[in-house]
């Protein structure tokens, strides 16, 4: 086992108590929040009138009449056997429910990451290269993009591209085009942050000794920018984009709701609404797992990008 493999194994093992902790915390919080899953389910759209006996029968059927520690213990035991339990309100295995929604969220996250990465790096480079009014305009535009919340961007995009121009669907993911507006709405703030971060780091890199040396060797400004400054400036940008990807993979609740996308975020909302404990537990584990894997991947990428970064946090 080489150093990289040892590092990956150590990080994954270290994640286990974290995942256990957050699942326990989520279970406790769900138990403490008011609302009986059986009653909520039987009330349907809020107009049903389940009797006490019917609620009690459903509680028993769902295993809710057992003490909380037994419920959690059973869930954990099943999990160790690869069974995440059944969703109360969907009536299907939790892992199936999550996997059903994952493609939409993964595509959304991938597309949003592309926007943020390509747009952010492009904008950042332009901000460094351009001078005078053009540069000021670009920086102002980045400030505006940072200030506008994603739900407002989403509504504006729907209005312009869906309602007025009729060129893109206003909602749903019936075609790949359906991802364009939601991913853009989701990415815009991060795109602007990426551009600003890159701008700052590129300027720092361009004024560094190694950049000046490169210029003295007769290299063009573009070559210095792309071959010397950019790789160094991309290190913090990569770390930020990694966190963004993890957050989106965990479910972009607002954008999913606005664009009627059946992704992980809207599933989490349903789980909270129905007090669907197994689904909530599954979601929290999924989210934790995503964060663990993405941060691990980011660390590995950073170590690969910058040899000065040693795995394990040493430089």
């Amino acid at each position: 086992m080489n150093a990289w493999q040892r590092y990956i194994a150590w990080r994954l093992l270290g994640a286990l108590p974290v995942l256990f902790g957050i699942s326990l915390l989520a279970f406790i919080l769900a138990q403490l929040s008011p609302g009986d899953p059986a009653e909520i389910l039987l009330e349907g759209a809020g107009t049903g009138m389940p009797s006490d006996a019917e609620v009690a029968a459903l509680r028993s059927y769902l295993g809710l009449d057992a003490p909380p520690y037994v419920q959690y213990g059973l869930w954990l035991w099943r999990l160790l056997h690869g069974d995440g339990g059944m969703s109360y309100h969907l009536g299907i295995p939790v892992f199936t429910a999550l996997l059903d929604r994952l493609p939409v969220t993964a595509a959304l996250a991938g597309a949003a990451l592309l926007w943020a990465m390509a747009g952010g790096i492009g904008l950042g480079l332009l901000m460094v290269r351009l001078r005078g009014t053009a540069a000021m305009l670009l920086r102002g535009m980045a400030q505006v993009m940072l200030a506008v919340p994603s739900f407002l961007t989403a509504i504006l995009l729907i209005l312009v591209f869906g309602v007025w121009l009729h060129v893109l669907p206003t909602n749903g993911v019936e075609s790949a085009a359906g991802y364009l507006l939601p991913s853009l709405a989701l990415a815009l703030v991060t795109l602007a942050m990426t551009a600003q971060l890159l701008d700052a780091h590129l300027r720092e890199a361009l004024s560094s000794l190694y950049a000046q040396t490169a210029r003295l060797r007769g290299l063009s400004e573009t070559r210095v920018l792309l071959s010397y400054a950019l790789p160094n400036a991309l290190v913090p940008v990569t770390a930020m984009l990694g966190n963004f990807a993890a957050a989106v993979l965990g479910g972009a609740i607002i954008v999913e709701t606005v664009f009627a996308l059946p992704g992980i975020g809207s599933l989490a909302l349903e789980a909270i609404h129905y007090r669907d404990y197994p689904l909530l537990q599954g979601y929290v584990l999924f989210l934790g797992g995503i964060y663990v894997l993405v941060t691990l991947a980011v660390d590995l990428v950073l170590a690969r990008m910058d040899p000065r970064i040693a795995l394990g946090g040493e430089r």
């Binding site: 349907g44 107009t47 009138m49 006490d52 019917e54 595509a107 991938g110 059946p262 007090r275």
Partner: protein
């Protein structure tokens, strides 16, 4: 740089792979929507699927009940049962089924199929996205059901069940092909009914695709294919209508009044309305001061200007009422809307004296109109000496708070799954009623209890109607809760493209809808 290029390529591939997978599914939908499919939208999934007690809503016209409701009068009307007899004072009911009816899978509707459905329905409890499917609720005290012949079903009850016909309307008596009923009380696949539409594709959380049942026994649906998409946000449904991605909206809360009004200004769209089954009311915690006093509840009811409320917040798409019973019930009795601020203040003063009382008004935080309504009502109630604190809560949390009795007032709603007024009266006005307890109404009126007991055995239609009238009169006078208004079903559609789109009490005239 080579590494960065590889990383970029990897992300690109992930996005393309994800989109590609959806695109493949999209192709299936594209094929479905290609041509003459009419695309509509609702705020929720109208076909939640195999694990829902009904699989899909009645408004999709996929399954049909034995007994339906007359759209005009709300009275029980024949559907799969064409006639019926009440025997032994209501202890036995015999239903004669329509001949020549076939399920979508080609099997015939028989008395045995109905028996199988009732046995399957007994596998309780079963949650649904609509109304709880409970045989005990819709067939109280049923002890035996049997097929007398190919088209005759007999139900025997341990106690007289005079109101059984009303119990069985719509959600009370769905009939599916036995082949789609699973042993555990769920469905084994797509719901197979007898209705004018059959389900050809149901993609969870996205859409259900309906196709005309060419073998329907009655007048066939006009549209060949209808797709109903699930779009939770009203603003997005509005935008999708404007962009002509969908042709109409249906179901409860199809379009908020303010957006419906805006769409009505666009010459492409029309708004069709109908009296809804839903009544919105203000629940009062009758287990504690000050709403344990009937005078205080009456004071609130008399002070609220329902007409102004409806005109200001609902732009007229609602009708004021003081009666909790839905207008969809054939036993609904209209009462004049009383509004008398002077009398209200006098009653409140009798209860509170010169003191001011702090009260907590709970409202569903996800309902912006209800929050606006709460602000207005809170402003009015200050005149009664009530200092209202509005608490916007998540819906399940609000339910829990109300059951605990940890509130004073709350805005809620009630529908009517069948035509039976007892469903509502027993639930709200009986001391052990499920809603009475769940809302901490603390309501107990011996006269109503006596009337509810008598209604179980009284066969005379005139006397029954008089008893229902009396219960409604008592509830209007005592206001165990304060009914505000009943909704109108708002169905907005693209009139330039569709014909036959009409709002019904619940849903739209799906079978009449077609391209213009």
């Amino acid at each position: 740089m080579r590494f960065l290029r590889a990383l970029f390529l990897l992300i690109l591939l992930t996005a393309v792979a994800g989109c590609g997978q959806r695109a493949e599914q999209g192709e299936s939908e594209h094929a479905a929507t290609d041509g003459d499919t009419i695309v509509l939208a609702a705020y929720r999934q109208l076909a939640p699927g195999e694990n829902d007690g009904y699989y899909c809503s009645r408004i999709l016209d996929v399954w049909e009940p034995l007994i339906t409701a007359d759209e005009e009068t709300g009275e029980p009307a024949p559907c799969l049962a064409t006639s019926w007899e009440m025997l032994e004072g209501g202890r036995v009911w015999v239903f004669h089924l329509r001949a020549g009816v076939r399920f979508h899978d080609g099997t015939p509707l028989t008395a045995q199929a109905v028996v199988t459905n009732l046995d399957w329905m007994a596998k309780e409890p079963r949650s649904t996205a609509f109304y709880a499917r409970s045989r005990k609720t819709y067939y109280p005290n049923l002890v035996h059901v049997e097929a007398l012949d190919e088209l005759t079903v007999r139900m025997t009850f341990s106690q007289p069940n005079i109101n059984q016909l009303y119990n069985m309307m719509n959600f009370g008596s769905p009939v599916y092909a036995p082949s789609c009923l699973a042993d555990d009380g769920n469905f084994s696949g797509v719901a197979v009914g007898t209705g004018p539409f059959r389900i050809v594709e149901n993609v969870k959380d996205r859409y259900v695709l309906l196709e005309r049942n060419e073998n329907y026994y009655g007048e066939k649906a006009r549209a060949r294919r209808i797709m109903v998409r699930s779009i939770p946000s009203p603003e997005v449904r509005f935008a999708a209508l404007k962009a002509e991605e969908i042709m109409g909206v249906l179901d409860l809360n199809a379009m908020p009044p303010v957006l419906a009004d805006e769409l009505a200004q666009d010459e492409r769209f029309a708004v069709s309305t109908s009296r809804s089954i839903m009544v919105r009311y203000l629940a009062m915690n009758g287990t504690r001061h000050p709403f344990d006093d009937v005078r205080m509840r009456r004071a609130v009811s008399l002070l609220i200007n329902r007409r102004l409320l409806v005109d200001a917040l609902y732009l007229g798409y609602a009708t004021p009422t003081m009666n909790l019973l839905s207008i969809a019930s054939p036993f609904y009795k209209a009462f004049p809307i009383e509004q008398d601020a002077t009398e209200a203040k006098r009653l409140a003063h009798e209860v509170l004296g010169d003191r001011r009382q702090k009260v907590v008004y709970c409202v569903n935080g996800a309902d912006p109109i209800a929050k606006g309504e709460a602000e207005l009502i809170a402003y009015w109630l200050a005149d009664l000496g009530l200092d209202v604190r509005i608490e916007a809560l998540e819906s399940p949390m609000m339910t829990a708070v109300m059951r605990r009795g940890d509130y004073d007032m709350a805005r809620s709603q009630q529908g009517l799954p069948s035509g039976d007024p007892l469903y509502v009266f027993n639930g709200f006005f009986s001391p052990n009623g499920t809603r009475n307890k769940a809302l901490s109404l603390g309501y107990d009126n011996p006269e109503i209890d006596t009337l509810l007991a008598a209604l179980n055995t009284e066969p005379d239609e005139g006397k029954r109607r008089a008893m229902f009238d009396r219960i409604q009169a008592i509830s209007v006078a005592e206001q165990p809760l304060v009914p505000l208004y009943y909704d109108e079903t708002i169905a907005v559609y693209n009139k330039a493209r569709l014909t036959g789109y009409r709002a019904l009490r619940y849903g739209v005239s799906l079978r009449e809808v077609n391209w213009r």
